[in-house]
Symmetry: C2
Subunit: 189 residues, 2 copies
DNA sequence: TCAAGACTGGACCGATCGGTACAGAACATG
DNA sequence: CATGTTCTGTACCGATCGGTCCAGTCTTGA
């Protein structure tokens, strides 16, 4: 009984990688079956809603992961500046310097956006909100903290796009350094 | 005879929009057929290589459009600062404040990236190069002009992602304003 | 005017798509 | 060990996929 829940959760990493690599349309059931080592019967046992339910489960796990490792540290840290630095470290690691696609960003650009609109929106909204709070507590002017947070989150997404297109992970790392340096130099807009 | 060339070019806008809206996998031949009003026979007459050749033709036109309207103005402008301002206007218009996806960026995040790698790489490389040149002539320190250009091009791509995910075109416009303001305030890193 | 070639739509192809049905294996619980 | 449930692979479904083929219709230059 408890096995079912664990097994379902165990599938999510393989599912996530498959959707990251092939997108929603490109991740066919046969590819998913191969990636997870499970037949269709098992997949539909855990996800009766098919691919749509798989994506939703993956998005939920991604959001939970970011909540634990990114959003909450930003919100609760005693030292907000250190938390922001830690955020850069964490996401650079997570996105493997742009070698790994951000599934939420990729889906946002695809035609699957409308189907999962609320999940995609919430992920970025939570990120911007948490970061804006940390910036604010780090001394950033109240009025522009949200704007600055959007700049940063957007830049991270753009860095993934650019590094992948140029096939240069260093570009991702460099953009991260530039964002961090800017935060250190000028807490004012 | 001349008709053929014209007709092929006339298809590109509809093709481009179809790939933008549905991605490479999602843009099925039946959808393409519907969007262009042409049967499969005609499509394969103009693009014997099928979907792959269609995408390549679209990418070539996009690159040509950007070369004319963005890259060359950046390179040749007498007033580089004005050219950079004009670039922001042009791309904001082109991407419809993030309502319209950047096909090159979207393909870069998809599994079609490898297939069109060189086209995707060149588009961004040319953009960064042209912008870095303009920044440099506008007084930006030589050593960091390329880095700053990558920041900007990446931020534009990220703004599209973020605005679409949040479903807030204003976010795209705001990020553009922030990028432009930053250029005006500090020509130094 | 008329042949040559550009162009067209749609029937058709095998492959694969997402999804269903189901019989049996593995399993936890009594 | 018996029983009921969970889990599994596979055969199968209709639909659609990308792509081919071709008979026929336009268009153009001689």
């Amino acid at each position: 009984m408890a096995r079912a829940i664990a097994a379902r959760a165990d599938l999510l990493p393989a599912l996530a990688e498959t959707f990251r690599e092939h997108g929603y349309e490109g991740a066919s059931l046969s590819r998913i079956s191969q990636a997870t080592g499970l037949g269709k019967g098992s997949l539909y046992h855990f996800f009766p809603g098919g691919k749509a339910e798989m994506v939703e489960a993956v998005l939920a796990e991604i959001e939970a992961w970011f909540a634990t490792h990114v959003f909450e540290p930003l919100r609760e840290a005693g030292d907000p500046e250190a938390a922001i630095e830690a955020m850069f470290e964490t996401v650079t690691d997570y996105f493997r310097s742009g070698r790994r696609v951000c599934l939420v960003g990729a889906l946002s650009l695809s035609d699957a956006r409308d189907r999962f609109a609320e999940d995609l929106r919430r992920y970025f909204a939570l990120w911007v909100e948490a970061l804006a709070g940390a910036l604010s507590r780090a001394g950033h002017p109240e009025g522009t903290a949200t704007a600055r947070a959007e700049d940063i989150v957007g830049s991270i997404q753009g860095a993934v796009v650019l590094a992948r297109a140029l096939d240069r992970p260093e570009t991702y790392d460099r953009i991260m350094l530039s964002l961090r340096a800017r935060g250190r130099l000028s807490p004012s807009p």
